[in-house]
């Protein structure tokens, strides 16, 4: 690990443990991550018994060289963006640990688990009420959005 920056050292450790012991339904594209440790693609399966059973999703994680002091930029990408009240159709996710409530003790794995649980507790598949306006006006980087976190039920 010589010659790696502190963020790369931590990401390398996280990548190894995620490849070795991934949480159920979660897998990392190791080839992409090994090419550039600051950009990961994670595949996620909808949990059986939930509204997303049988669906496949792709998450993109972008890290800055301030990681883990700075939160990763996490968005859904690919051709299946989950229909969920906290997920915009452009893939942006309204989840407080990704901005205001980030902590350097969190990790790619814990973020994935939060997203799995956010999807699994959903009662009705629908887009956020302001989806059309947000998607038209937002910055490409979801971390630039001043999110209002108001609904902890899903």
């Amino acid at each position: 690990m010589a010659g790696m920056s502190p963020s790369e050292k931590r990401l390398q450790k996280e990548l190894m443990s995620l490849m070795k012991e991934p949480p159920p339904g979660v897998s990392v594209d190791a080839e992409i991550a090994e090419q550039n440790l600051l950009l990961w693609i994670i595949r996620m399966e909808g949990v059986s018994g939930t509204l997303y059973e049988g669906e496949q999703f792709e998450l993109q994680f972008k890290f800055s060289n301030k990681y883990p002091f700075d939160s990763p930029e996490v968005t859904f990408v690919g051709n299946n963006i989950p229909v969920h009240p906290h997920v915009y159709s452009n893939g942006h996710i309204c989840l407080s640990i990704l901005t205001d409530d980030w902590s350097p003790a969190l990790s790619v794995q814990s973020v994935c688990l939060s997203i799995v649980s956010m999807l699994s507790s959903c009662k009705e598949k629908k887009r956020p009420p302001d989806n059309a306006f947000y998607v038209k006006t937002c910055n490409k980087n979801p971390k630039k959005t001043k999110w209002w976190y108001h609904d902890d039920s899903v």
Binding site: S5, P6, K9, R10, K13, E14, P68, S103, P104, A105
Partner: protein, 85 residues
């Protein structure tokens, strides 16, 4: 028989006494050092919060410096206060 010791060399090991093996911020071993340092030991010490969580001093200071308000423990989110005991 009488033995006269002419010379001896002492050898010792040390380790930090922490309630965990790894720093929750950098994920490096406590008995190693933070990713910014080269050598473990007194130059890369551990510190405790009043909440009892422990980190490399360099790691927690970096985190606190990045948080102008609401300085919280990364593990339990209680307000961070150094335990100076």
């Amino acid at each position: 028989m009488k033995v006269t010791i002419k010379k001896w060399t002492g050898v010792a090991t040390w380790k930090w006494v922490a309630n965990d093996d790894n720093c929750g911020i950098c994920r490096m071993a406590f008995d190693g050092c933070c990713p910014d340092c080269k050598l473990p030991g007194d130059d890369c010490p551990l510190v405790w919060g009043q909440c009892s969580h422990c980190f490399h001093m360099h790691c927690i200071v970096k985190w606190l410096q990045s948080q102008p308000v609401n300085q919280q423990c990364p593990m339990c989110r209680q307000e961070w206060k150094f335990n100076n005991k």
